[in-house]
Amino acid sequence: MPNSNILSIRNLQKAFGAVVATDHVDIDVRRTEIHAIIGPNGAGKSTLIAQICGELTPDAGNIEFGDADITKLPPHLRARMGLARTFQVTQLCAEFTVIENLLLAVQAQRGAFNLLSNPRHDSVLLDLARYWIDLVGLGGRQKIAVENLAHGERRQLEIAMALCREPKLLLLDEPMAGMGADESIRMTKLLQRLKGQYGILLVEHDMDAVFSLADRVSVLVYGRVVFTGSAIEARQDPQVREAYLGQDHVAY
């Protein structure tokens, strides 16, 4: 059932005082599609992501993941069910090396509560960790402490940490943010390779990346989804242009 939904958001609402950050949002992500969410700053993209992964509780509405209602589930249990994410500002263990970060992620579902065995000497864990490090193109950087990694490399590492848990859905929160042109293209290529293997919800500002990757695009403005459709339709939709792309992007 590649076309069934892995994530269904229904009528989601969240307000902070008088500010409505999520306003009756409905979004679906299919099992093998890249679904991009775009929208101007302050449109509520981060709030939406936080509710999907469980860091914020919605005021109303439902979030279904696979067949389960996860609206009230704490974030670590959502993660265990196969919801993996990357962060807008990378969240890594800066003092750890690349491989230690990966070990942290791969040991999570293989009995992390073990007070004596050293994961750095565990060949099963090490092999797994190395596989994913190589896959995202960080081979040879294993023993480097994360604080010494370049910005783009940290993003790659976050993707590896998400992928190694064999998720059903990837939440990518602005994976191109702060990247140079080269890094951005490399990341786009990496995501291109992942396309079709996972459901991916992509929040991104880089329009080139969005239009080259996304199967479908939803446009979020003031907490509301004003448009959902294919990437091509999105480019042509006058409402989208006006609301989001603005005058600078008329060339699209």
Binding site: C53, E55, P74, P75, H76, L77, A79, R80, A84, R85, F87, Q91, L92, C93, A94, E95, F96, E100, L103, L104, A105, Q107, A108, Q109, G111, A112, F113, N114, L115, L116, S117, N118, P119, R120, M161, R165
Partner: protein, 325 residues
């Protein structure tokens, strides 16, 4: 691993040196030095325990003296009932260390579980305050226990008995404390390097990351807290046997402060550092208090300087010097 080997060598050399100490001590020093070193070992056990949560888990407990005191008091109270006070809840008591010591350590584990569970619902300054509040609670409880000496504390008529060795001799207690310190440090090192330790240190660096790989923080932090409480309790047990005397001062907030100072001075998150910190702290205390009773006037600024300039304390400074070469 290259990081591990020099420290293992250093530790082994130190162990051998200290183990042979009673043989050459008669040439060099007085028996009082044995007492001094025993005190250092005992404080070091507490400091290593505190470093496990403070250095690796970023949990700054300002109430760890409660475990030190409770460990000591459990030993002294059982001792009191065994030799003087009659039965304790129907139990005639015991003086065997194999019974009394684990009991005391388990009591500390229980207190650690309760106080840790409540304190860990917060973090940062609130965490510090709640641990302090628990310690004050225990302090005033002990002060109010008139049957166990109240303010004046409780004497132990004799030390607990260990099989095969005679702890009544100071040298034996010296060895027992040294062995406990070595074992405890090795165990804590294993824990720090384990899968559990990886999560504990990851939580210090990015809790969001840990949660998002599917791990709940509380069980890890709480377990570390309980282990730390039990280690500090063990130090209290040894202290009671060393001094044959326990007082509510063992739980005073200044004692908790001393433990933190020792860990920071020696080097947060190094395990070996706090041992060095304990040695320096107690030697400084000894030397300065001969010179003046206001020895804290000197100790205070020393601590401030180390906190300001030595990011990882003395051990950290040594490591930087080595890397700089």
């Amino acid at each position: 691993m290259s990081r591990l080997r020099p420290s293992v060598l250093l530790l082994t050399a130190l162990l051998l040196l200290l183990a042979s100490f009673p043989m050459w001590q008669s040439f060099v020093t007085s028996p009082a030095t044995i007492g001094l070193l025993t005190r250092i070992f005992i404080y070091a056990i507490a400091a290593v325990s505190l470093d496990l949560i403070m250095g690796y888990g970023a949990m700054v407990s300002f109430g760890h003296a409660m475990f030190f005191g409770l460990g000591g008091y459990v030993v002294a109270i059982i001792n009191y009932h065994t030799f003087e006070g009659g039965t304790l809840l129907g139990w005639s008591g015991s003086n065997a260390a194999v019974v009394v010591w684990p009991t005391a350590v388990l009591c500390c584990g229980m207190l650690g579980l309760i106080s840790g569970y409540l304190a860990l619902r917060t973090s940062g300054v609130q965490f510090i305050m709640i641990t302090l509040a628990f310690a004050q609670l225990v302090f005033f409880l002990l002060v109010s226990l008139q049957s166990y000496g109240g303010d004046d504390g409780l004497m132990m008529s004799r030390r607990n008995v260990l099989p095969l060795v005679d702890v009544a001799r100071p040298e034996t207690l010296y060895y027992v404390s040294l062995a406990m310190l070595a074992l405890w440090t090795v165990l804590c090192t294993l824990i720090v390097k384990s899968r559990f330790g990886l999560v504990l240190q990851a939580l210090r660096q990015s809790q969001r990351r840990v949660v998002n790989v599917g791990v709940a923080p509380m069980p890890y932090r709480l377990t570390a807290f309980v282990i730390s409480a039990m280690g500090t309790g063990l130090a209290g047990v040894l202290w009671a046997n060393h001094a044959k005397f326990v007082t509510p001062d063992m739980v005073a907030w200044t004692k908790s402060g001393e433990f933190i100072a020792i860990v920071v001075m020696g080097g947060l998150g190094t395990l070996i550092g706090p041992i060095l910190g304990a040695a320096i702290f107690i030697c400084l205390e000894q030397v300065l208090s001969i010179w003046t009773e206001h020895w804290m006037i000197i100790m205070g600024p020393v601590l401030v300087l180390i906190a300001l300039f030595g990011q990882r304390g003395i051990v950290g400074a040594l490591m930087r010097a080595r890397y700089a070469e």
